[in-house]
């Protein structure tokens, strides 16, 4: 029984709040995940990314607000949940102890729960990543961090779920394996046009594959827009101290981050097209582009990077 039109369904959170004891982790958060788009979800440690993802997928409780997929609430709703795959980061604590899950058990679980699970594709992926059949009998808790990531990625891609979420998929992977992941992700996306949400710390590398980026800072969504639109609105300005201050005041621009080098100052700013033109024309002021990682640090660093 499938009443949800997954091609057009929006996964949306409205007014979601969550506290752990006295700590407010998510504060009246709103988010609409559009279908058929690769999202990058970035935020500092402790910003609430995993909590948010857990709530979006009905796996964790919220204090208030609503989460809907295709109009239906997700909580305990098989209709919605069957279309969502949340491939969490595996840790040595995951299913350890007496009932230690093995890789093959995990794959079997995916086969049971995901209606579109593609077993052949999963085999292919594990081969590509170098996780031979022999290793499948190993307990998840005993895998290396890199191998755990490979399993996470395999589950996510082979699930075929219309909304697929990956939490820190490249932790522990070397650069070659990471590049392989981005390639596999793009190939899959080109073929299936699924919705992907990638939560990651490795920002700049992954920026090229994100169509949209969502920035979570201190429990709130501070940015949710196309990657290039966001990046295009930021710049590093530099020039002599007084000249720069004057030019910025004239254009009505404030600094997000400041670095001083003698009498020379460099600032990170967000500016409109008009402000950019004005500053570019100013004498002695240089305007340089910022990449997504730079933008993120400027917005969410709160000065920590300079301390």
């Amino acid at each position: 029984m499938n009443t949800i039109d997954t091609k057009n369904a929006v996964l949306c959170a409205a007014g979601v709040s969550k506290s752990y004891g006295k700590q407010e982790v998510l504060k009246k958060l709103d988010l609409n995940i559009q279908p058929g788009c690769i999202y990058g979800l970035i935020g500092r440690n402790g910003a609430g990314k995993t909590t948010l993802l857990g709530i979006l997928t009905g796996q964790n409780t919220k204090d208030s607000g609503e989460v809907r997929y295709g109009g239906e609430t997700v909580w305990e709703n098989r209709n919605a949940l069957q279309h969502i795959c949340f491939s969490r980061e595996l840790t040595p604590n995951t299913a350890s102890g007496q009932n230690a899950l093995r890789v093959k058990d995990y794959l079997r679980a995916a086969e049971i729960f995901y209606p579109k699970w593609d077993k052949a594709y999963a085999e292919q992926l594990l081969e590509k990543f170098g996780l031979p059949k022999a290793d499948r009998k190993k307990a998840i808790a005993k895998l290396s961090k890199g191998q755990m990531s490979m399993v996470t990625i395999t589950i996510a891609l082979a699930s075929g779920a219309p909304v697929t979420i990956l939490d820190e998929p490249v932790a522990g992977l070397d650069v070659v394996a990471r590049e392989l992941f981005y390639r596999l992700l793009l190939d899959d996306y080109t073929k299936t046009n699924r919705t992907f949400i990638i939560s990651t710390h490795i920002i700049e590398e992954a920026a090229k594959v994100f169509e949209r980026v969502v920035i979570l800072d201190e429990g709130r969504i501070v940015k949710d827009e196309p990657t290039e639109e966001l990046v295009g609105r930021f710049a590093y300005l530099s020039g002599a101290n007084e000249a720069l201050d004057a030019a910025m005041a004239a254009a009505g621009v404030t600094a997000l981050e400041t670095q001083l080098l003698g009498r020379h100052k460099m600032v990170a700013v967000e500016l409109s097209g008009a402000q950019r033109a004005q500053l570019a024309a100013a004498d002695g002021i240089s305007v340089e582009p910022m990449n997504l990682q730079n933008v993120f640090v400027a917005l969410c660093g709160h000065g920590d990077a300079q301390r």
Partner: protein, 218 residues
């Protein structure tokens, strides 16, 4: 049902391990034909395992349930399946205990060393083991609250131990009321069984209620 298929995989492992253990004890007993060596002792004390294992296995099943949740399983279905499979395992273990007890009779001098598991006794053991198991379901839900955790843990142990004590006191060959049948006619038996049944019902209800909001612990 998806949840059933998922938990069955692990349940089969557990059941196989438990029953193999029982089989080893049984075979060892028959081969060594000695009712007082380790095999004999395990065979006779098997009802103690029946009181302990189901609850302990339920506790360790939490991590498996968490994994099910990460795959989008439904909470109440997980709970229902785990209760079903847990009870089935309990019954299987009880049956194994009964078989082992009978095996002792096939061994020289075995008759002196049986546990003496009767039908009424089996029901008593079942009820206490079941109550301990339900306490385990509730125990694994407990978040934070150390005091509650300790309280429930003590309660669980009490049910296990209490089951054995009740059995011994009420109707085994070693108890005061020797040779008194354990059954409807025995008021102590009725009282003990009802007590355990009520405890089980209360724990189960509380566990089911708490399960509605179960979360994946990361």
């Amino acid at each position: 049902m998806k949840e059933l298929r998922f938990f069955s995989v692990f349940w089969l492992h557990q059941a196989a391990a438990m029953l193999s253990f029982a089989a080893v004890v049984g075979i060892g007993l028959l081969v060594t034909r000695n009712p007082v060596n380790l095999f004999g002792i395990y065979a006779r004390m098997f009802p103690v395992f029946v009181l302990i294992f189901p609850a302990v296995l339920t506790l360790s099943g939490r991590s498996v349930r968490d994994v099910a949740l990460t795959f989008g399983a439904k909470r109440m279905k997980c709970y229902a399946v785990r209760e079903l499979l847990g009870t089935m395992l309990l019954v299987l273990l009880l049956a194994a205990a009964a078989v082992l007890d009978k095996l002792l009779l096939l061994v020289p001098d075995g008759g002196e060393h049986t546990f003496g598991l009767t039908a009424g006794g089996a029901v008593l053991i079942f009820m206490f083991a079941f109550a301990a198991q339900q306490t385990a379901f509730l125990l694994e839900q407990v978040k934070g609250g150390k005091a509650r955790g300790i309280l429930l843990g003590v309660l669980m142990a009490a049910l296990m131990g209490g089951g054995m004590m009740a059995y011994l006191l009420i109707g085994s060959r070693f108890g005061q009321s020797k040779n008194i049948e354990m059954g409807i006619g025995n008021p102590f038996w009725v009282g003990a069984v009802l007590l355990a049944a009520v405890a089980a019902a209360v724990m189960a209800a509380a566990a089911a209620f708490a399960e509605r909001k179960a979360v994946v612990s990361v």
